[in-house]
């Protein structure tokens, strides 16, 4: 199950364009089919529960959050790569232990990008975040 911060299609497109700078070099080298991505998280090795993820510092600040099955996204022909990065590789292990994924969306024009992001977004269900406002207190650095 993939989880992402709340987001309208316009916001997701804006973020994809903004974050494309991170991928431009990889695309130029032929290592990635597209610079456009959507950020999602999954627990590493199933060590974090849904509540753990939603109470993590990143997610506790979102009102709604998005949830989708990875298989539903990967069935889309233009979603070709899910690149992974451990969010807090520089940090000691925590009970959350999230991995950051980038769902790569192939698109040639801004119009096509928006249409495809819409199709990706349609596969996410939008939920109220029960952890919003808790501040992720269980994961303060001093605990």
């Amino acid at each position: 199950m993939l989880r992402a911060g709340g987001g309208s299609v316009d916001n997701l497109v804006q973020r994809a364009l903004e974050n494309a700078l991170e991928y431009t070099e990889l695309v130029d080298q032929g290592l990635c089919p597209s610079p456009y991505t959507i950020s999602v998280h999954v627990p590493r090795e199933r060590r974090a529960s849904k509540d753990d993820i939603l109470a993590s510092p990143q997610y506790a600040r979102y009102g709604p959050y998005l949830e989708a099955r990875a298989s539903l996204l990967l069935s889309l022909g233009f979603v070709t790569v899910v690149a992974t990065t451990i969010v807090h590789a520089e940090d000691p292990p925590t009970p959350i232990d999230l991995c950051h994924y980038d769902v790569v969306v192939e698109a040639v024009t801004p119009e096509q990008l928006r249409e495809r992001v819409q199709r990706v977004r349609d596969r996410f269900a939008r939920h109220h975040n029960p952890a919003h406002g808790t501040g992720g207190a269980r994961y303060r650095e001093d605990i």
């Binding site: 911060g5 916001n11 903004e18 700078l21 600040r61 979102y62 807090h88 520089e90 406002g133 992720g136």
Partner: protein, 68 residues
């Protein structure tokens, strides 16, 4: 305080992340700014370093300026 809209889900558990664009390159190390995301709280962040086209910042997850 300048406010930046960004992808907070890319920030690390300890709050590190990157802002892109011309406005980000005008920031100065140590400067306090506000960051937010779509349907998310607005938080205080501090500029760590600035380079060509981007600025590395650290957001303080517990310093909320505005709650959604």
């Amino acid at each position: 305080m300048k406010t930046f809209s960004t992808d907070l889900s890319r920030f690390t558990t300890k709050g590190y992340g990157t802002l892109y664009g011309a406005a980000a390159t005008q920031l100065r190390p140590g400067e306090r700014i506000a960051v937010t995301d779509d349907e998310a709280d607005t938080l205080v962040a501090e500029v760590v370093r600035v380079s060509d086209g981007s600025a590395e910042v650290r957001v303080f997850w517990d310093k909320v300026l505005h709650r959604v």
